[in-house]
Symmetry: C2
Subunit: 458 residues, 2 copies
C-alpha cells in the first residue's frame, strides 16, 4: 500500500464519499421507536451492500430487535474487529431542527463545512470514515489491508438489548486480535485521542431505618433518633476535607498513571476552569493532591446520586422520618475490585450506625474499570498514524464513564479495544441539529488510512 | 359553694350527665366534610341551649365556616374564658369501627367502662366535663362560681380557618383573666397534668445549588462539586456527638426548668424505654446531659424533616445533582427568639458553603414557645384541685409540640392558658373506635368542681 497515493485518493474522492454517507443518513433508523423498524432493517441491508462492494462477505443477522450486520474478509497481518452502530437517536424536539433531520446536507458555517443530519456524528459519519478508508486502500492497492471482521449494531441508542446474547452466541465468529471502535471524539479541536482507560461503576443504595414509623416532631423531637441525621452523619464522612474517599482499602492496588501517559496528559493543556465553567463551577472538587484530569480519568470517585428522607413536597410537615435513603455510586479504576469495594463500603456504613438504627443495602450493579494494555503495538501504531494526520499529536486519554461496548468486548470476547473517533464537542449528539464536521469526516478517513498503514507494518 | 355536696351531686347525677353527653355525640359534626355542615350548625345550636340552661347567655355566631358559640355570664371572682370544640374528625376507615361512630354507647371493657363514639374524647366528652361541673355547682349553690366567657369552636379538626379572624374581631368580647382549655390528657393513667410549657416551631428550607444542571457522573464525577455532598456535610454539623445543636447562640437565654417543677417531673417516673419502645427505639437521642423529659419538653431541637437530591426513583441514575435541599425545623423553647435563630441558622449555613455553591432559604413560618407564668395563682389552684381528686398529685408538665389555641390566646388576647384535660393515651383520638373512659368523664367533672372551688378561694 502506498500511503501518499491512498491519501490523495481520499482527498480526490471526498465528494462521492460524502454522497455515500448522505445515502446512509437519509435512512431514519431510529432504533427505539418500533415505527422505524423497517428503516433499521434498510440501514442494515444498505451496509451489507457497502461491505460487499468492498469485498467483505456480509450478512444482516436477525435478532429479537434490529439486525446485527457481520462481515468477514481475509487478509494479511493482525485481525481487527471493527464496531460501529447504524441506529440513531429520535429527533424530538423536531421544532428545534432547522432542517429535516433525515434530509441531510452540507452546510457552510462560521466554523467551516458541516454535515447536518441525525446520525451525522453518532455514529453513521464515524463508521463511514473507516469504510471509506478501506475503499480508498482497496482502490489503490487492490486488497484490504488486514484480516477484518465487522460488527454493526442497530440498537446502541436503545440499550443494546440484543448485543450481549448475540456476542455470546457468535463468540467464535467474532474472534479477532483487537477490537476497533469508532464512536468517540477528538480530545480537542485539533488533538486526536485514543481512549485507553475507562472507569467502571459500582452502584449502591442504602436505607437507614430509625423509628418504625414516621413520628410527630413535637411529641418525639429531641428524644427520638432521626435516620436523616444518621444518614447525613455517615455520608459526610465519605470524603475527608481533602476530597479523599474514606472507605477503608478504597485506594489499594490502584496504579499510578504511567509516566509517559502522564506526560501526554500534561501536554494536553486541559483547562479545568473552562471545563467546569460550562456547568457553572470553577474549582476542581476532587482529591486535592491530584490533577484535574486524574480526577476524571484515573482516580476513583464516590458520589451521592440521590438522597431522600421524610417530607419532600411543597410546604412543610413536622415529621420525624422513619427512614432515610441514598443512592451512592463509585467510579472504579483499574486495580479496584468492585465486589471488595462493595463489601468495604457496607462494613464502613455499618460500623457508623448508632444502636437504634438498622441499614439495608441494595446493589445497583457493578462493572470493573477497563485499562488497555499499552504494550500491545496497535496503540502506538494508532498514535503514530493519528499524530501524522492532525496538527497536534495524539494522546492516550481516559474516559470518566464506561463505554459499554468496550466492556463487552473485554468480558465476552477477551478483546482489548482501540477507541478512536473524530467527533467534536459541539456536534450535538442526541440533540437537534446534530452535525459532523466535513473535516472530521475527511481527516477521519485519512486517519484510518494512516492507522491501517501503521498496523500493517506492525 | 359546699364542695362535698357538689361532688356528691356529680356522683348522683352521673347517668343523666352521660345521657346529656350522648345527645351531643349523636350529632355527626364532622367539620372537614361540607356534607355535615348542617350537623355542625346543630351541634352549635345544641350547645347554645345547654349554656342557656346553665344561665349563660349564648349565641352561635356565623362565620365563613362553622359557627362559633360564645356565651357570657356574670359572677364573682376571676373571669375565665373556657374553650372547647364541638367538631369531630371524619370516621374513615369506617370498616374498623365496631359500632356506628354516631350511635354512642357505654361499653364494658377489661379496663372499665368507656363511652364509645366519635368525639367522645376529642373534644365533646372533655368540654362536657366543664359544663357538667357548672351544672352541679349551679344546682347546689344557685349560681355559677365565677365570671365566665365560653368559646366553642366548630373547626378545630379542619385547621381553624375562622378562629383567628373571629378572635380578632371579637377581642373585646372575649377578654378575660385567664383562658381555660379542656382538650389535653392525663399525664399517666392516674396522674393529672397541667401543661405549662409549649414548644414553638421554626421551619426552614434550604436549597444548595452546585452545577447549573444535572451532570453525568462519568464525565464530571470526581471534579465537579456535588451539592448533595455539601448538604450532608453541613447538616452533619447541626449536632455535635453530644446531641447539642451547633448553631451559634442557639441556647442563649434559655431558662432552666424551675427546681420545684423539675422535682414534679422527676416524680413522674417517666420511662423513656417504654416511650421509645412504642416506636421501635430504645435510646434517648437528644442532648446527652439532659433528662429525657427535658429533651421533649424544655429543650429546643433541630431536626431534618425532609431531604432530597438527585434521582430518588426506582433503579439508578448516574447523575451528579445540580441541587440538594432539606427541610429543617427547630422546636423552640421559652427564651429563644425565632427570628434571631432563623438568622443565626442561615448565617451558620452560609459560613460553611464552599465557593462554588449557592444556597437559597425559604421560611416555613415561626411560632415562639409559650411558657405560662406560674406565679399566676390559677395554676396552683388547679394543681390543688386536681391533686385532691386523683390518686397521684398533679404535675406541671411540658408539651413537645405547640397547641395552636394556646398560642392564639396569648398572641391575640394576651391571655395565659390553663390547659387541663382527662383524655388517656389509649383513647384513639382521630382513630376508629374512639372512646373516653367513664372515669375520665366522671372524675374530670369532679376535677373541675374542685378546681373552680379553689379558684373561687383565690
Amino acid at each position: 500500500m502506498t500511503l501518499d497515493a491512498t491519501l490523495a485518493r481520499v482527498d480526490a474522492d471526498l465528494e462521492p464519499a460524502l454522497d455515500r454517507l448522505m445515502t446512509l443518513l437519509r435512512i431514519p433508523s431510529i432504533s427505539t421507536d418500533p415505527a422505524f423498524a423497517k428503516d433499521c432493517q434498510a440501514a442494515a441491508d444498505h451496509l451489507v451492500g457497502v461491505l460487499e462492494e468492498l469485498g467483505i462477505t456480509a450478512k444482516a443477522h436477525p435478532t429479537p430487535g434490529h439486525p446485527m450486520v457481520v462481515g468477514h474478509s481475509d487478509g494479511p497481518g493482525p485481525h481487527l474487529l471493527f464496531y460501529g452502530h447504524y441506529d440513531v437517536q429520535p429527533v424530538d424536539p423536531i421544532d428545534l431542527w432547522h432542517r429535516d433531520p433525515f434530509d441531510p446536507a452540507i452546510e457552510d458555517t462560521a466554523k467551516g463545512q458541516v454535515i447536518r443530519g441525525r446520525g451525522a456524528a453518532d455514529d453513521k459519519g464515524q463508521l463511514m470514515t473507516f469504510l471509506e478508508a478501506l475503499r480508498a486502500i482497496k482502490a489503490e492497492t487492490g486488497t484490504l489491508p488486514c484480516k477484518l471482521t465487522v460488527l454493526f449494531e442497530g440498537e446502541e441508542e436503545s440499550g443494546s438489548p440484543s448485543l450481549v446474547p448475540f456476542m455470546k452466541a457468535h463468540a467464535e465468529e467474532l474472534q479477532a486480535d483487537i477490537a476497533v471502535i469508532c464512536d468517540t471524539g477528538l480530545y480537542g479541536h485539533d488533538t486526536p485521542a485514543i481512549i485507553t482507560m475507562l472507569r467502571g461503576l459500582l452502584g449502591e443504595e442504602l436505607t437507614i431505618t430509625g423509628p418504625k414509623l414516621d413520628l410527630h416532631s413535637g411529641m418525639y423531637g429531641g428524644i427520638a433518633m432521626n435516620p436523616a441525621r444518621v444518614l447525613v452523619d455517615i455520608l459526610s464522612n465519605l470524603h475527608d476535607d481533602n476530597g479523599t474517599v474514606q472507605v477503608p482499602g478504597f485506594y489499594e492496588n490502584i496504579p499510578e498513571v504511567p509516566e509517559d501517559v502522564q506526560a501526554q496528559w500534561d501536554a494536553l493543556g486541559f483547562d479545568p476552569s473552562a471545563f467546569l465553567g460550562d456547568v457553572g463551577l470553577s474549582i476542581p472538587a476532587g482529591e486535592q493532591d491530584r490533577t484535574p484530569l486524574q480526577m476524571i480519568w484515573s482516580r476513583p470517585t464516590a458520589e451521592i446520586n440521590g438522597m431522600t428522607s421524610g417530607y419532600t413536597g411543597d410546604g412543610f410537615k413536622t415529621v420525624l422520618p422513619s427512614i432515610a435513603s441514598a443512592k451512592v455510586s463509585f467510579r472504579m479504576v483499574a486495580g479496584q475490585d468492585p465486589d471488595a469495594i462493595r463489601i468495604a463500603f457496607r462494613d464502613w456504613v455499618r460500623a457508623q450506625l448508632p444502636a437504634d438504627c438498622t441499614v439495608e443495602f441494595k446493589s445497583h450493579g457493578a462493572s470493573p474499570a477497563s485499562s488497555m494494555d499499552l504494550n500491545h503495538p496497535v496503540f502506538d501504531a494508532a498514535r503514530r498514524g493519528l499524530s501524522e494526520e492532525w496538527p497536534n499529536p495524539a494522546a492516550f486519554v481516559g474516559a470518566g464513564g464506561s463505554i459499554p461496548i468496550a466492556g463487552y468486548f473485554q468480558d465476552i470476547l477477551d478483546l482489548q479495544s482501540l477507541l478512536v473517533g473524530f467527533s467534536r464537542a459541539d456536534d450535538g449528539l442526541h440533540s437537534p441539529n446534530e452535525k459532523y464536521d466535513v473535516e472530521s469526516f475527511h481527516k477521519g478517513t485519512r486517519s484510518w488510512v494512516r492507522i491501517l498503514d501503521e498496523i500493517a507494518k506492525m
